[in-house]
Symmetry: C2
Subunit: 490 residues, 2 copies
């Protein structure tokens, strides 16, 4: 795999001087088009120690328009980063459309190092690589060009480079102990990298191995590769996109949401007795959750007027305001729209020990966005897998995840809509949009059934809540949360 980058490629000073200006002008031109095409670029500057990763990034910074650039190296994670799933730190530095981010060290660094030094076994390494492939595919699908560069040096070339740097008093500072530590493991490192590169080199984001003995050759190759990748992305973005069409699925005659028992109810006396007891228990458990440094995440979905807000408030009433956050998902901001779809949810991910409640969520993608044609068929179809990956990262990290579908019958919704229209302080909750959604009742039920089928996992199950009687649904939600916490933080 690396042999093609050990053949002695060189570029003369004259050639370099002649080719460089044209290349720089072309890259700049391509960079300018990114914003208009609504594309972001992520460049992974990877490779062997001593091959000049930082140096090459510095060179590119000189060539490109600095206003659209960011350089990030994933050093030691901060505490806030450690208290969230690994990918959070990557999401938080993802470039918006029109911008380029260089990663010196990337999501490959930790697994490759861990595997080289034996801290990760083959199976876990494979799983990590699979996750990376999914992640990069998602990025590519979401208008991010992923350019993966591998700067290569042979074993002897690496030793020579490090020694040369050390011998010159002016550049001695560039060589660290770390560099030699890796150089000593060259052979293992090379084998591990070969596995990593071969498993993650995909059609959408292939690896580019670049011989880095001759700096001029390396620089030109890196520049050309970057240019080509951006051009390819720009061309793909120009291809006519199929128009987003609303999808109108029909529910099965017998379906899990239609066959709920909507007559379930609680009388006032029982409610007044059970509610404060459950809240008292939840209060204790949420403090235990905090002390145990676990996180909890509750998602609420369901038709308009199903009583999501009321159920949420019965939870939060029992909690210390310092430890929870309710996020009402509204239309994305401009900044959010210029990032991949899941960015705005990663953005607000709580630290361990906290509770976050989403009033509507990332499931909007496969519900309203699907039905209204706000996204393409391909987009909502691949969303199930993306969401499952996202939630797996949360639950594997130890976050307790519960997803509630609060269901009501169409008759009950009508009653509540009318009540909202006639009560002044409720009227803001009802508008033409709600009536429009109501008209698509069956399609919503069908989409919700698809969603439950595709995304209910044992680690992150959907809980269906009969919501015609508010007392019943509030107590059921509370009890579900309490029972789960009893198990998890007992």
């Amino acid at each position: 795999m690396f042999e093609t980058a050990e053949i002695g490629n060189e570029v003369s000073k004259e050639r370099y001087k002649k080719d460089l200006p044209k290349l720089r002008a072309a890259i700049l031109e391509a960079q300018k088009e990114l914003a208009v095409a609504k594309l972001s670029v992520v460049v992974l500057m990877s490779g062997v120690e001593g091959a000049g990763k930082s140096e090459t990034v510095n060179e590119l910074l000189e060539w490109l328009d600095a206003r659209g650039l960011q350089v990030h190296a994933l050093g030691d994670p901060s505490d806030e980063e450690r208290e969230r799933p690994y990918y959070w730190r990557i999401w938080r530095i993802m470039p918006p459309h029109g911008r380029i981010t260089f990663f010196v060290g990337s999501w490959y660094s930790a697994p490759i190092i861990d595997r080289t030094f034996g801290n990760l076994d083959d199976q876990d390494f494979d799983e990590t690589l699979d996750r990376i492939v999914n992640f990069e595919r998602m990025l590519t699908n979401e208008r991010t060009i992923v350019v993966k560069l591998w700067l290569h040096l042979s074993k002897s070339a690496q030793r020579g480079r490090l020694k040369d740097l050390e011998d010159d008093p002016k550049t001695r500072w560039r060589v660290t102990k770390q560099d030699w530590k890796f150089a000593k493991r060259y052979d293992e490192f090379r084998r591990v990298c070969e596995t990593a590169l071969s498993k993650t080199g995909t059609a959408e984001s292939p690896w580019h191995i670049i011989e880095s003995v001759d700096k001029r050759y390396r620089n030109l190759q890196v520049g050309r590769t970057l240019l080509e990748a951006i051009r390819k992305g720009l061309d793909a973005a120009k291809a006519p996109k199929p128009k987003n069409e609303p999808d109108m699925p029909k529910p099965k005659k017998v379906n899990i949401i239609g066959q709920l028992d909507y007559s379930k109810s609680l009388d006032e006396k029982e409610y007044d007795d059970r509610l404060p007891r459950l809240q008292g228990r939840l209060s204790q458990l949420s403090r235990r959750l905090h002390d145990a440094k676990r996180g909890m995440l509750c998602v609420f979905e369901g038709p308009d007027a199903a009583g999501k807000g009321g159920a949420i408030r019965r939870i939060t009433q029992a909690m210390d305001a310092r430890n929870y956050q309710v996020i009402s998902v509204a239309a994305p901001t401009e900044e959010e729209r210029s990032h991949p779809y899941l960015w705005r949810f990663w953005r607000h991910l709580p630290r361990l020990g906290r509770v976050t409640i989403y009033d509507r969520s990332w499931y909007g993608r496969v519900l309203v966005e699907r039905l209204e044609g706000f996204c393409s068929t391909h987009e909502w179809q691949r969303a199930y897998g993306e969401i499952n990956d996202f939630e797996a990262m949360l639950t594997e990290f130890g976050i307790i995840l519960m997803k509630f579908w609060v269901a009501i019958s169409p008759e009950e919704q009508l009653k509540r809509f009318k009540d909202r229209e006639t009560t002044p302080f409720k009227s803001y909750k009802i508008g033409p949009e709600d009536w429009r959604n109501r008209a698509k009742w069956d399609a919503y039920v069908a989409a919700a059934c698809d969603m439950v089928e595709r995304t209910s996992t044992s680690a992150a199950p959907w809980i269906l809540v009969e919501g015609n009687d508010k007392r019943w649904s509030r107590v059921k939600v509370l009890k579900t949360v309490v029972d789960r916490l009893e198990k998890e933080v007992k």
Copy 2:
């Protein structure tokens, strides 16, 4: 001060039932107008333990449209928060236009508690309060309505409330040890709060003390106070704003920028000798900075083509990519525009141990925004003070702050503009805007002189760099940084 809230105000159940719906409808209406008026609201829910701060917030959450709300309580800071000046954690949760944030516990909590328990002396307490006044004034000026509510209970009412809660098994969980700890210090606490409230109750954001023995009275008062404050803010926002006019100051005949010695230069040999030595030194120092957990922040301003980017790259070449960040300040995003001016700079503030370099900065306010009329006269005039406060927070926190004005003569700029126009890979750096700015050369010089005069402090000095010779200016910048670091992290 608190006596007016110990007179036994009550509201009957009937009265409450009658008044509430109208109040709720009116608040909702006002909330809806916030987005159009481009106003944010910050509500500080403060007061005595047991007065029902959380309870009141929960009540308001029920009244308001949840989509525009956030509740935050300032618990223990995270490590990332501790590694930045105190106000960072507040800025990161500031609401954008159209939204309301409730603070249960606020920037008052820590100083009041510290003063009550004797961990803060009178003088430091006063200084903290002064800073708060400045901060809130800035918020108000920047389209944020600050509503400060103080829920009050007399000493005996507080004891009674805590006991009642404890006696009922259903509400026992609401009372914590912390509550009793504070209750025991009631008298000291009251005295400290009196000082805090009297020193920070300003015309723009007065304190509202609300008697909280009777819950119905408390809720109605809180609701009415909030409504009135929002209404007042909405009315003020409707008043016709004076049109922003470009300001065209004239420089003094003899001024610090004009009288720089632009003939200063270095020959190639000396440059080639000094540059790598300075970079080597900087490399060591930046690692020491990292280990010492200090932060460094460099700001670069100056005319177009002065060589800011080149000087910045000579610094970053010497540093580990993990430890620095270059931020090129471009036009603010929609999200940034819907927050106070300084938000976007706080946002990217580095953790301790890191270096951040700003290619243009918050000084845009008193340079381009002043000259182009992008902000009002009042806005750029008050910016000097706001910037000084901002920078004082940085330097007091231990961040090393250096501000470079890279100066060139108009003749040199003309030469460089022409060179840019004729070199393909440089041509992106030059456009009509640059020529327009150039036409206002004198006004820029005058604005820069004002800026240096108003914002050069011993802790955060401006360094004027003669930039006609690039070798000279790069070495001067590097040497300044190295010398400062030698002093600070030796």
